[in-house]
Symmetry: C5
Subunit: 390 residues, 5 copies
């Protein structure tokens, strides 16, 4: 996971103050999208005052069919702009403070006149995963979104509004909010698949004995990524559950089945990330046992070589001694006998090693599977019983 | 567990769209089974329009005794067919989307006019376990099932309907739903027994020291299988509990004891899979301690050989030196004395090794069991007490 | 734990079918015990029809004082006998199916007219622990028990009924049920003590360094036994809690304190088995550290021997070279100097090893305990304070 | 923890029977303490009949100001005495059975006319910790306590009654019960501190590398002690919570804040023991890594010595060969060249070892701490902000 | 974490007694701060009687706009001063006892007329973290705080009152309490960041192989710090939740959103500390695998050197033997042949080592990342689908 420059929390600061992080992106205007069942009006890169005026116009003179507004801001560096929007739409200062504070836990905050829903968009950048904090405000006929960085994840929702097929144009601002949340959640799946791919590649390496000592570091980095993603996913289930179970302002009953479906995906995500976690732990275990196995093999090589040659060298040492009287040295076949003795010695050692299996470096554990109660069997028992109990 | 080709979730797709997976099986018609207390009509491989017409006929003109209908589709590749069924029977689009999405968590979704219950059938194929996703819809007098692949697990239910003994023909569509769920759950037991068999075989190998370095990989694969099966079993308890505790549409009180029994089997399954999990962890521990034990033995061999021969070789080295004045070399019994000295040296070493137990490679830990408070004893104490307190 | 031959669950079988396991024991008649405050009538080994007739007689013509009946069947092989009893006493078919199915989780099933309570009797056979499944049915004035095997655990209850002291003869069938459950639960204690004895014996061995490489297998078997016993104990607390908290048929308020006491013993059992589990895990840890310690000692021996002799052998090697001009070889005291050099070399090495503590194989860690705030101290402080604050 | 001789539970025994353990202490009379706001009467070592008569007198003729009675029995060997007290004060037989059964889990049992509260007093004996089971009965104006052994922990309560300052003499029997429970709970703190001291001493040893192979056994014993103390502490929170939340007989609302304070100490105790547990686990980890580190050092020594001398010995071996034609042997500076070659060889090896850091046995990991956002900094930021937003 | 001298709990002490710890700091007077919407009056280092008189004056004659009082005491050594304040403001004796007892778990105690809220201020001293216990009492228009040590964490709140911008001067004593709690909680963030920095520095060292055997001790100390901080953070969530959910005296509804925001930070803190914990565990794992890896490398060096030279030395040993008849010794090219044989021998060995990869000490595991379902892809699929379903 790419590291964001740390954003300090200043202890003692009064609540509700908007302090953008030093590395925050500057927004290029705001994007206003107005749609109803039969028309769409997209105005990207608008000046903030124009956008607020347009919103005020729609709110004061509601059209038929009813119009839905979506105000989007990408980049959180401009405190004045944010303050202006917050005050114009009477968004709660505590919520506006959270918009620029990049550590929000996904949740639903009910401020009576509006809901505040911070989420984390998980994006795949070139080499690493990054989080892009998304703040959703749901008002009566208006959805306001603030994104940490310009991102293209919500393009799909815009596309669907533009094309106008399906439900999205027929329904209210709450359905728009659902569509955004749904897209953000579903966007986690390809990222989790990528983490899984990496772990399977590493598993392959470790099992084929091609993993080196940087593997542990690799697993460690993966575990930390998984842990961060897990923290973003874990609160989603309860947050979405609160959205469809509690009686919240601006959320109609009609979108409950959709939110339940969305929660289901959140649970699936949590299952997947738990799976990744167990996979990573298991990889660690295999890798560590690989180390032990290698040590065993290294020691076996050393022991075999030493155990064969040390006694031979000893024999050679004996007949290298310079005692005046060493009858064997004078024997005609003394040298040949000595060599033969050495050969026998080595052969016995090798035989022993073969016996205890140390010379066999590529053994496989063979286990035969036996199918338990095959289906045909079970059906036959049942049929037999049915005949007898007619 | 055999791996399914991944099925991508497309972030941003509108809800309720049926997108079959690329590797989905093509259905060969649909199977319609109509039965009442006194008649059965099986029509496999029917065209979908004929089947829907037949269903409409029965629904519009209910017969006496009441008829139950079971519509089964095997293979999820034909989006048009699924859409047609979904619309004709007014099944909820979100549920129909889940039918073809192969990651459903087992649960009960109440759509007021019908229930949607996704399950995983666990099948033993030649060499591996596979999941076959089953979607059950319960309507008033109709059960609709969609299977990912043609499977024979539900044959037992068909057989029982055909034979007509027992309760199944006397009762309604909810009992049919129960029978299907019960069969799917009970079908896990032989699979879990097979996993257990494999682990016991591996345990045997490891304890008899016949396991090689691929064991860790073997255990790792087993653990991942267990983990996947566990995820399919874990939500069953709550799902079935919801079926018999909540007041759900189309589920009569008469089948509650049957569902409770079914839940009991689901709890048993979870106990078994937890057991497998702990077994697998324990196997890992034994295997790793086996590695340590082997290393100990290898090092003991090396140490024994080295410790005996290194001093001897040193002695031989001394008398191989070429100093002009080395009196021992000229002694008559010099050579013999030297050999004797070496022999004593080796004997002392071997004696020491025997003393610390290093030469004894096959020791057993003996522990004597003592029975605590045998039954006769307890009865005698009780009888004695009863006599005294008459 | 002795292994029972596996009993297959046949997926698809209709519910409520009695299929005894292949290895089930054949019952030798049934045992009927009738008692009231002033009389006991024991009729062991009765024919089933006679027993049912006797029960019917008592139920149709209730005597004063009221009579309690206990029907016991030991051995579950005779499906006809079980079916006859089930039908005569209108026991629920699902419960009768569970009677012969040997994997029941302890629990209380309420079938309105009667309760069904499956339990596991833990017995100490010659060498191993075994489970004996006990099914208890509580009807109005009748307790029916089915045992997997002839067992003597319930003899204590019969003895108490026979002797007639205490409450048992004064109270109803619910007190008989309580007495049976209480006896079954208390019977776990000696078994757990035996497991504990075994672990303490093994602990002793491991700490005294007398454990060999089969220890890990031993611990593994103990852990699996503990796991199985734990699974039998774990649901007891809730089951007995349900018995005394819920308003169940045939259970009077008078026996509630007794059931609460019984539940307390079940909690105690669970505490004990948890303790065993942690003990077993701890044993594993000590054993593994023992392996590491041994390896350390083996390597120390090898290193000491090698490090002393390798340099000496090198020196001997130098003076074994055949260079034409090696002045030392001609010195008068050359040989003696060389030997002295070797001795110094060895002494330095041994000194170094002594310095780093490698030659001290039996060191003990000494830690001095200091009593914290002894009682007299605390009392003195208190007394002092009381005097000052009179 | 000192081991108590096992106390067998006899399966099948009727409930409510008082069977003292074989090793139980004999009581020396009973201690009766009567007090009111203005008088105290202590009568230690009284005969049981006299005590019961005195209690009966007070109960039948209540004085003004109201009197509180405290009856204490130390030693549980005399079943007759216990039975007499139980019957005279109508204490429930199940509770009286628990008084002598030494495995009671701390809890509150409500028997309508009285409460039964078993606790464990943790005492520091010479060398070990021991449990002393305390049973408290709370009746209307009477507290009865039974202690397993004569102990001095409750002396503090007696002292406070005697001195008469504070609340204790002004309030009822429930405040006496609270004072006893509070004293028992606070008495755990010095014991836990002692356990902590031991662990810190051991930590010191392990980190200074002065721990030997008995350390693992030491940690294991500590963990088992911690586990036993934890089991005694764990249920306290709920037990005391029940005392002040439930409407229990004989417990007035006035003592609720005191009980809440007491529960707070119980939670603190649980926190401390959890801390001890994690500390012990951590010690195990450090100790095991110490073993690995030692092995690394041993092997480094062996490898350094071997790697330096084995090539040198080989060179010496070459020039020890007896080939007829070996020109170097005849060179004038042959021997010197050979020695120089050896010296270079050794120097290169030592240089390599230095390069990879193997010769540096006492390295320290140095990490520089950098203070994050110092307080002055944060205040300056705040002040600056306040000025700008005046 | 810097260690505080232990503060003994004296078992048996009556409740509500103020016993300062021996090492407690002496207070330099008390600080009284009185403010309303339009005025601030700061009087640091006041005599306690003057402060109490001032408080009494304000309480008896409430001004308009209403005044809020903040009484602060830094240093807990003066029992008389504390007693005087407690009695004058009728603070509960049990709460006053807790003020000087330095082990309070963060929580909210409701004493009807006032709330008692103990917290831990986490401070970064020169080298270590320290806890500074803060006790907050909330009365009607008065907040009383007691600090263990003079600290500057609350300066930020004073500064905000002095400057008078923002809400703090407009609102009541409950908002002051909130501001204090908020500041204390936010003050944890820089400390946690420092812990994180340390762990990242250590991670760097371990991965770069620059960590030595004191690392394990380092990690152990970090884990114990984390554990202590975790215990201070863990109860915050519930404590603050109780403050804003329960109907507590002196807490108005207006500050609920602020308290909810504060709780959110407490949850974030808990998430961070959990993260630290997992990080520390992971560091331990990497470090231990580093040890195994090093051992592998050490052994590889030893094995390579031994395996190459032991056979060569053996060959040299053979031709060093003194047999009378050894034809090779007389050959013209005997010596050269022997040297060549040795070279071949060594080359073969080195070749084998190269083949199994033992000579390659710096291998890297290479894994190629493949992006799963890139965004453009997903959008294309969606657009395509939208076109087809227009
Ligand atoms: Mg999950
Ligand atoms: Mg899961
Ligand atoms: Mg799940
Ligand atoms: Mg999990
Ligand atoms: Mg899981
Ligand atoms: Mg692990
Ligand atoms: Mg493991
Ligand atoms: Mg379970
Ligand atoms: Mg279980
Ligand atoms: Mg379980
Ligand atoms: Mg379990
Ligand atoms: Mg483990
Ligand atoms: Mg269970
Ligand atoms: Mg427990
Ligand atoms: Mg426990
Ligand atoms: Mg436990
Ligand atoms: Mg462990
Ligand atoms: Mg307990
Ligand atoms: Mg416990
Ligand atoms: Mg706690
Ligand atoms: Mg805690
Ligand atoms: Mg804790
Ligand atoms: Mg805890
Ligand atoms: Mg551990
Ligand atoms: Mg706590
Ligand atoms: Mg958390
Ligand atoms: Mg969280
Ligand atoms: Mg978390
Ligand atoms: Mg976490
Ligand atoms: Mg967490
Ligand atoms: Mg670990």
């Amino acid at each position: 996971m790419k590291k964001r420059p740390a954003q300090h929390i200043i202890p003692g600061m009064p609540p509700g103050i908007i302090i953008p992080s030093d590395s925050a992106q500057h927004p290029r205007g705001v994007d206003l999208l107005t749609y109803s069942a039969d028309a769409v009006d997209e105005r990207p890169g608008l000046a903030v005052d124009d956008a607020l005026a347009a919103i005020r116009a729609v709110t004061q003179a509601p059209a038929t069919p009813p119009q839905v507004l979506w105000l989007n801001v990408s980049g959180l560096a401009d405190a004045q702009l944010l303050k202006k929007i917050g005050e114009a739409l009477t968004l709660h200062p505590l919520a506006m403070e959270d918009v620029v504070s990049l550590r929000q836990r996904p949740r639903v905050d009910n401020y009576d006149s509006h809901l505040y829903i911070p989420l984390k968009i998980l994006q795949q950048d070139d080499n690493a995963l990054t989080f892009n904090q998304l703040s959703i405000f749901l008002l009566n006929n208006l959805v306001v979104t603030f994104q940490e960085q310009t991102g293209d994840v919500l393009d799909a929702v815009r596309l669907r509004i533009r094309h106008g097929s399906g439900r999205i144009r027929q329904m209210g601002a709450d359905y728009l909010m659902y569509s955004i949340i749904d897209t953000v959640i579903d966007n986690y799946f390809p990222c989790l698949e990528q983490i899984n791919d990496l772990m399977e590649a590493l598993e392959e390496k470790i099992i084929r004995n091609q993993a080196h000592k940087d593997s542990i570091e690799y697993i460690h980095r993966l575990k930390r990524d998984i842990q961060e993603v897990r923290r973003a996913i874990w609160p989603l289930r309860d947050a979405i559950g609160a959205l469809y179970r509690d009686e919240l302002p601006n959320v109609s009953k009609a979108i409950r089945p959709f939110l339940r479906d969305c929660q289901d995906h959140a649970i699936l995500l949590f299952d997947s990330i738990e799976n990744c976690r167990e996979f990573a732990n298991s990889l660690m275990d295999i890798y560590l046992s690989t180390l032990s196995n290698r040590m065993n093999e290294i020691m076996k090589v050393l022991t075999i070589i030493s155990t064969i040659f040390i006694p031979l060298t000893f024999i050679a040492g004996i007949y290298g001694m310079n005692f005046a009287t060493m009858p064997e040295l004078q024997w005609r076949w003394g040298y040949a006998t000595c060599l033969a003795l050495m050969a026998i010695c080595a052969a016995v050692m090798i035989g022993l090693f073969k016996h205890v299996g140390w010379l066999d470096f590529k053994q496989k554990t063979t286990i035969t599977r036996k199918k338990r109660l095959p289906h045909q069997h079970a059906i036959a028992i049942l049929e037999n019983w049915l005949k007898q109990n007619k």
